[in-house]
Symmetry: C2
Subunit: 269 residues, 2 copies
């Protein structure tokens, strides 16, 4: 993908993200039809579906040869990342959307032949757009985000950690996770992977880890975090395969080894 092409795609993607966000803000107090998916707490609303449909029709109209991976199923049945693939979560943090009417994001990652080219995370109610093009830096609205600090005292870091890591689980011995919580300065949980990736990119969190995420939760975040010098792997330090669900750790590389080798690998089941 050459720069001119990418800039054109970026321009449209940004326009659509802002337009979709504006529609969501206008309709934020409309009555919702809430359904559940994988389990009783895996929520989906008409707004998730309408927003994904909006992206799908726009993309197919301008770029009929691009593929789409979307959370709500309007995308394509994508088996490879060949060509240009839009990876979309229309509302990341649907539980927050339903219960809090904020703290959710539109997440759009655009990959070409498997390489993350564009990332857009739009915290809709805060009206904060995090964006990046590969090799051109990451931005919060119009302001470029500084590179993550190269030195970071692990004991002074703040991590985004879902509470399920500390419950008995199939991935990691929870005792190791308890030790991790006691070792770092603080832990937080905000309920939106996209927003937590954005917080890592801007340095509000030094790392974020989660258990079973899909491509749409992380595709944009990976590109944005990359651009400030952050690193994203599975929770055991392995490369992410966007075509299947996996655990995820995104963080400042200065603390990655301490988290992975010191806690997650030690507790691996």
């Amino acid at each position: 993908m050459n720069k001119q092409e990418r800039d054109a795609i970026y321009g449209l993607a940004k326009e659509w993200v802002l337009e979709a966000g504006s529609t969501i803000r206008e309709r934020i107090y409309d009555p919702l039809t809430i359904d559940t998916k994988a389990d009783a707490n895996d929520l989906v609303t008409t707004m998730d579906k309408d927003t994904e449909y909006f992206f799908m029709t726009n993309i197919k109209n301008v770029y009929p040869d691009h593929s789409i991976i979307g959370e709500e199923g309007y995308g394509d049945d994508v088996a490879t990342l060949d060509g240009t693939v839009w990876i979309i979560d229309p509302i990341d943090g649907t539980m927050n959307f339903v219960h809090q009417k904020r703290n959710f994001a539109i997440s759009v990652g655009i990959y070409h032949d498997g390489v993350g080219e564009i990332g857009l995370i739009y915290d809709v109610m805060a009206n904060n757009l995090y964006s990046a093009k590969r090799g051109e830096g990451a931005f919060k609205n119009e302001k470029e985000l500084p590179a993550l600090p190269q030195q970071k005292n692990f004991h002074e870091s703040i991590l985004g950690v879902n509470h399920f890591w500390l419950c008995e689980n199939h991935l990691v011995n929870e005792k190791q996770m308890q030790d991790l919580v006691r070792t770092v300065r603080g832990t937080r949980s905000y309920g939106s992977a996209a927003i937590e990736f954005a917080f890592v990119a801007e340095g509000s969190l030094d790392g974020y880890m989660t258990m079973g995420l899909s491509a749409w939760d992380i595709a944009a975040g990976i590109v944005i975090v990359n651009e400030v010098g952050g690193v994203t792997t599975t929770s055991f330090g392995e490369p992410i395969n966007l075509l299947k669900k996996s655990s995820v750790l995104t963080c400042n590389p200065a603390i990655q080894e301490q988290i992975v080798d010191g806690f997650l690998l030690k507790g691996r089941k």
Copy 2:
């Protein structure tokens, strides 16, 4: 305390809270001197101290007979809640203040003969002021907050839970807490007790529980949550004594029994 007196105190307290917040916003990127208190993660900065000093001098100037309980030690040595007592946390969520430059609050509770009369929680960077006078409702900025819903499906509630509840601790068997996390719809952790009380008052969270808090962390929140029909006790359902540290549960009363009897008392050590 009669209404006229209380309105006058409220007016000044609100003015000082907004002024202190404005000063903090102006100085948010100034270099900080960070010290630690009880442990390496119990942070205090010059901004905490300066802000408390600002309140103390203003209060003592206008109300020399009022007492002050403040986190940073500029207050009085208060042994009873007789008379009018200002209970102040100049920056609640100092870790967020230092690391995130947001998600912290000024918390001011004003009690008369042990009864909470006024509560002010100011989320400084979001510029959201939560306020209440006893019996006159709670507000977010100029807008009155609705009463909490009288019916609440426990399985659909979202709770603010510090990660330490899920680590081995001296209060509650952590297995019970794991069950609680699995039983409710979602759990969050924001790192500021005052803001989490405000989130309960506005319905963004249905409950918030924490382990060892002091009067300044909760005094304002108790008054505000009361005004929307919420309830605040120790985590075992007992009355709070503001003169000593205790565990805290603030929540919609519709789910209090389920949390306390179903999980916290069962796991009590």
